[in-house]
């Protein structure tokens, strides 16, 4: 709330300033850097439509940079395009092309370093190396940008929105395609990622490293190497996101690695090879998620304890849950399982027989992956049934004691 009021004041103050302070227009052959140098703090620089061949433009005073009809700034492969080195800078309505590709420096179209109160809104980035790179900054908004890259290999491509040591940044309504990571957070705190669409990225749609207390909500992650990777982070809230069509041998909808106290609520995982891959994740709450038609809905690897799965829908997955060991330290309760075959005599909507979500076949596939070709074979159904009757290989106490008869809406 305070954040919002703050930005409102910020935007209002910008509006007032544009009335009070000068507007500087830049036409095509002029230099943008020139205009910035001659401007006073708080001025608005309006860049007219055209192509500007300039690189490493330094914005070193509080300015509002507006583009008319998306003027193109072409860095001609010489370093950064725009460097924001001052507080209170707004950049909006530009198209950035030809950022230098480098193996030693992370060149980007917009580089923000050590500032407060910045806004990067409604810009277009075409084949950037990195698109937006933010370091050691606070109170920022990155919204409605379109970032489309042409990444093919991980080692020589960059991230869409890359943040390092930041806090209180809002990333909303961006569209990011074909980059290495769509959005990358490293040591980023108290930030939010909302309503973005991150597709066809070669590594992750969204990537968290060592970032605590963040929220991501209402995003779409489609056909990425892995939808979202959350690693070594605490207290992340993930709500209402859609993870779709992340296919491949190392592809996950959501990869959890060393995660503590996260909430995963109201998400949809659809047709991924592995919906959620949890490794060393503790005290994670899975609630009201939909798992539809995934290869594996949730795969628990080692050291996952104290997780709770409540009221999720597991529909038509080849495997609902896969476990490595024979110990269970997690709680499964009141989920809907489409494979459940029990009955409900007292008609309270809860099945009278506990459901065992791990099949013997999933244990076999973990051991010998090639056996996957026998999926849905009658013989496999028979051995699954016999394991269900008297469990030997799968964790004995892993049961949903209150399986629902109808899907959670």
């Amino acid at each position: 709330m305070i954040l919002k009021v703050f930005f409102l004041i910020l935007i209002l103050s910008f509006c007032c300033k544009t009335l009070l302070l000068g507007q500087i227009y830049v036409e095509s052959p002029d230099s943008i850097q020139h205009a910035i140098n001659s401007a006073q703090s708080g001025d608005t620089i309006i860049v007219r439509q055209g192509v500007y061949k300039e690189a490493n433009i330094k914005v070193n005073k509080p300015l509002t940079m507006l583009g008319e009809n998306f003027p193109i700034i072409d860095a001609q492969g010489k370093g950064y395009v725009l460097e924001i080195l001052s507080d209170s800078v707004t950049v909006s309505g530009f198209k950035f092309i030809n950022v230098e590709q480098s193996y030693t420096k992370d060149f980007s179209a917009v580089h923000v370093y050590g500032v407060k109160n910045f806004a990067i809104v409604n810009n277009v980035f075409e084949n950037p190396y990195f698109a937006i790179h933010i370091e050691k900054s606070k109170w920022g908004v990155i919204a409605e940008n379109i970032i489309i890259g042409n990444a093919e290999k991980e080692h020589n491509s960059g991230n869409g929105i890359h943040m390092w040591h930041c806090s209180r940044i809002e990333v909303t309504d961006n569209r990011i395609e074909k980059m290495r990571d769509g959005i990358y957070f490293e040591f980023v705190k108290h930030s939010s990622v909302k309503r973005n669409k991150s597709k066809n990225n070669i590594r992750y749609g969204l990537h968290f490293m060592f970032s605590n207390d963040d929220v991501y909500e209402g995003n779409l992650f489609e056909n990425n190497g892995a939808g979202v990777a959350v690693m070594f982070s605490k207290k992340i809230i993930m709500r209402k996101n859609t993870f779709r069509l992340n296919w491949g041998s190392a592809s996950y909808g959501l990869l959890l690695k060393e995660i503590y106290d996260a909430d995963i609520i109201d998400n949809t995982f659809e047709k991924n090879t592995i919906g959620v891959n949890a490794d060393g994740s503790n005290r994670v709450m899975f609630e009201r998620n939909n798992f539809n038609g995934n290869g594996w809905a949730i795969k628990f690897l080692g050291a996952c304890y104290g997780n709770k799965l409540l009221q999720n829908n597991f529909m038509n997955n080849a495997f609902d849950i896969s476990y490595n060991g024979s110990l269970n330290g997690n709680v499964f309760d009141k989920n809907y399982w489409s494979d459940y075959t029990g009955y409900d005599l007292d008609k309270n909507g809860i099945g009278d027989v506990p459901y065992r979500p791990i099949k013997l076949f999933s244990y076999i596939v973990n051991r010998t992956p090639e056996t996957i070709v026998l999926l849905r074979s009658l013989f496999v159904d028979i051995i699954n049934f016999s394991e269900k009757v008297s469990p030997i290989f799968t964790p004995d106490n892993l049961k949903d004691f209150h399986p629902l008869m109808k899907p959670v809406k």
Binding site: G295, N316, P369, E370, I372, V373, L378
Partner: protein, 260 residues
């Protein structure tokens, strides 16, 4: 041959077994859809039924029909008709009528429940195609067995054993084999072994459509190439066709040599 085909076809169309078979699929389709209301889920359930039932029915019908019409066949053999025409005609007559029962019996309920509005339409047709293929394959195998054994009991027993072998036992041996040798690279073996079982082959064809996300979970390059491209689909369809052609040729060869 056409005349005999027609005769075999109408003979079965008149018999009540064909109707029972048709009505069974019809009611199965309606009940499944009534209980599920969801075409895509019904398709998965149907997969299991088709993979088990169509081969069984094909085998039983084939053996039964051959032994029941043995006298009529002897009569036909006395006429100036080519032997291959007689047996191929009979084979195609039953095959067509059984496939028709399957396609109509399942097609009508699914059409009534809005198949054309569903995205599953292609999967459903693949399923019907595979069901027809399996009917033909097991019919041909049954004809072969019946041609070899004049003894009814022996023929019946072996036909059912053949079905049991392909439907269950084969996969069991296959699985045990893979678990025993799991230190070796098995991906080529795993794909190779499915070729020798038409039921496995059909299963792979269907799960290529339904569960491809799970199949891609395995890292092997051979699997990736096979399952990740349309090559796998065409390859298995071609093999299924081969599985029909080879036993049919065997019928022709055997019937020529047989002493009636």
């Amino acid at each position: 041959m056409l005349k005999i085909l027609k005769y075999g076809f109408f003979d079965l169309m008149r018999s009540r077994w064909s109707y029972i078979y048709f009505l069974f699929y019809l009611s199965l389709g309606f009940i499944l859809l009534f209980l599920n209301q969801d075409v895509s889920k019904a398709v998965i359930t149907l997969l299991n039924i088709i993979l088990i039932l169509t081969p069984l029915i094909g085998t039983l019908f084939g053996v039964m029909y051959y032994y029941n019409s043995r006298e009529f066949t002897s009569l036909l053999l006395a006429q100036p008709i080519k032997r291959s025409n007689i047996f191929l005609g009979q084979f195609l007559g039953i095959g067509l009528s059984l496939s028709l029962s399957l396609v109509l019996g399942l097609g009508i309920p699914f059409l009534a429940y809005g198949l054309f509005q569903s995205t599953e339409i292609f999967n459903f047709f693949t399923l019907l195609l595979i069901g027809s293929f399996l009917t033909l394959i097991f019919l041909a195998l049954a004809f072969n067995l019946a041609l070899i054994f004049d003894d009814k009991i022996k023929g019946f027993g072996l036909a059912i054993l053949t079905w049991l072998f392909f439907a269950v036992i084969y996969d069991g041996i296959f699985l045990i084999f893979m678990l025993m040798f799991d230190e070796y690279p098995l991906d080529k073996f795993a794909l190779g072994a499915t070729i020798f079982n038409p039921i496995d082959l059909s299963r792979i064809l269907i799960i290529l459509k339904l569960d491809v996300s799970a199949l891609l979970g395995y890292t092997g390059a051979v699997f990736q190439n096979f399952f990740g491209t349309s090559f796998g689909m065409f390859f298995s369809l071609g093999l299924l066709l081969l599985w029909v052609i080879v036993p049919v040729i065997a019928i022709v060869v055997k019937s020529k040599k047989k002493d009636f």
